[in-house]
Amino acid sequence: MADLGTVTRTLLGIIRDGSDDHALAQQICQACMDGLDVDGAAISLLTATASRETLWATDATAELLEDLQFTLNEGACMEAAVTGNPVLVPDLHHSTEIARWPIFAAAVAEQTTVGALFALPLQWGAVNLGVLDLYRCTPGGLSTTQWHDALAAADTAALMLLGQRTAPGSDDDGDHGTTAAAWLDHALAHRAEVHQATGMVIAQLGIGAADALARLRAHAFVHQRLLIDVARDVVDRTLVFTENPT
C-alpha cells in the first residue's frame, strides 16, 4: 500500500526464524535506530501484575532510562504504559516536562545526556504488552514522516511480539513460519471476529486476552486451520474452549 515507512518496511521484512522475544526486540530496536534518527531504543514488557522486563536496550543509556522509570515509578514510558497513548518529549529539559516528572527529569539530567524521549505503547485492544522507548541526545521532535513511521512500527512490533508470545507449537515445524507470517497480515490480525472470539474465550476459560488469543492460535495450528475460521466457529458457538487444551 501507499507510503510505508522505512522502519515498518524493515520490520515486515524480518524473517522469523524461531528466535525468541529478546532477539525479536533487538531487531525492532535496531530498525528504529536505523530509520528514525534516534540514538537508542528499548522495549520493556509490562504485565498486569506490575512486574516488568526490559526485553532489549540498545545501549547502557537506554537501559538506564528504563531502570530509572521503573525504580522511580514515573516518566514518559510509565505514562505511555498506563494511558495507552504515545508520550512525546522533544525537550526533556523544558520546564513543563520537568514539572511532569520532577524526579525522573532530574535523574536523567544528572546521569545521562538524553535530550528527547518518545514512548510508544505496544498494544492490541485491551492487551498492553509494553512500551517501545526511543531517545535522542539532542532535543528535537520527530518529523511528521518519522512520527508516522514510529507509530506504524509500534503497531507492527506489537503484533510481532504478541504473535511471538502466542505462537503455538514448536518453531521447527515448517508450517509455523507461514502461520507467523499470516498473523502479521494486517487484515487478519485486525478482523473483528478474531477480537470477538478472543473475548468469548476470555469468558469461557477465565483467562486474560493474550492467553485467550494464544489458545485460539494453538487450536488453529493443531487443526491446521486459519485463525479467522477458528474465530468464526467460536463466534458461531460451534467451537467452545474448555479447561482441557484442545
Binding site: 510505508l4 515498518t8 497513548n85 506504524a152 507492527t156 471476529e193 478472543t198 473475548g199 476470555i202
Partner: protein
C-alpha cells in the same frame, strides 16, 4: 409532508452531535451515533466508517449493524471497493448500480452479492487538509444514485467524524492526527473483545452485546472504550449489563 420532518431530523442530529463534541466524549461512541444518523437521514439500509491506520491501511471502526454480512462488506473494502477509492482519491464515489461494477471490484461485488441485500453504494471521504483519514460507506437496497443534497449531507456527517477524531483530546503538536486515529482504531479492538466477553457471559449475540455495553456507558455517563476495557480486564461485573 416529508420535507419539514426531514429537516427537523437533520437539525436534531447535528444538535445532538454538537452536544456530544462539547463533553469529554468517546470517539467510538461518537462514530456509532454518526452511522446511526447517516442511516436515518440518508434513508440508507446500512452504513459504516473505515479509518486509515498509521500504515495507511483501512480498518473498519463503526457499523450501523454488527451482522456478519455488513462487517464483511466493510472488511473487504480495506483491499478494494468504493471506500478504498474514496480514501485514496479524497473524492466521493457513487455506485448507483453495483451489478455493473464487477470488473472493477470483483471481490467487493462478489461480497455484496453474497450478502444479497444491497444494490447501490456510496463512499464519502473523511477529509482533512486535502487528504483523507478514512471513509464513510452508505448501502442501499435499491439501485440508484443519491441526490446531490443527500451527498452534501453525508459529507457534512463525514466532516463531523473528522472533527470528532481530531478534537477528542486537546490538539497538541503536529502529530495529533495519527495518534488519534491509532487511539480510535485500538478502541475498536477493545470493544470487539468486550463484545465477545459479554456475548459469552450473557448468552447474547454480538449486536445485543454491543447494545448493552453502549446502554450501560451512556446511562452512567462513562466512556464506552473504558467500560469495554474494564469488561475485558474483568474489572466490570457483566451482570450489570443485563438490561438495556
Amino acid at each position: 409532508m416529508r420535507r419539514p420532518r426531514h429537516e427537523q431530523q437533520v437539525s436534531q442530529a447535528f444538535v445532538q452531535l454538537a452536544d456530544t463534541l462539547v463533553d469529554d466524549y468517546d470517539i467510538i461512541d461518537l462514530l456509532d451515533r454518526l452511522v446511526a444518523h447517516a442511516v436515518t437521514l440518508l434513508a440508507a439500509d446500512a452504513a459504516g466508517i473505515l479509518l486509515g491506520d498509521a500504515r495507511r491501511l483501512l480498518r473498519p471502526v463503526s457499523a450501523s449493524s454488527d451482522d456478519a454480512q455488513t462487517i464483511e462488506l466493510l472488511q473487504v473494502q480495506c483491499e478494494e471497493g468504493p471506500c478504498l477509492e474514496a480514501f485514496e482519491t479524497v473524492a466521493q464515489v457513487r455506485v448507483p448500480d453495483l451489478a455493473r461494477m464487477a470488473d472493477r471490484w470483483p471481490r467487493f461485488v462478489a461480497a455484496v452479492e453474497d450478502a444479497g441485500t444491497f444494490a447501490s453504494v456510496h463512499a464519502i471521504p473523511l477529509r482533512l487538509r486535502g487528504q483523507a483519514i478514512g471513509a464513510m460507506n452508505l448501502f442501499h437496497r435499491r439501485p440508484g444514485p443519491l441526490s446531490d443534497d443527500a451527498l452534501a449531507l453525508g459529507q457534512a456527517l463525514a466532516d463531523v467524524a473528522t472533527i470528532g477524531i481530531l478534537q477528542e483530546r486537546a490538539i497538541r503538536r503536529g502529530e495529533v492526527v495519527n495518534e488519534q486515529l491509532q487511539t480510535a482504531l485500538n478502541g475498536r479492538v477493545v470493544i470487539e473483545q468486550a463484545k465477545g466477553v459479554i456475548s459469552q457471559r450473557l448468552g447474547v449475540g454480538m449486536d445485543e452485546a454491543f447494545a448493552r455495553l453502549r446502554h450501560f456507558a451512556r446511562a452512567n455517563n462513562l466512556r464506552l472504550t473504558e467500560i469495554a476495557r474494564q469488561t475485558v480486564d474483568g474489572e466490570l461485573d457483566t451482570d450489570l449489563l443485563v438490561t438495556r
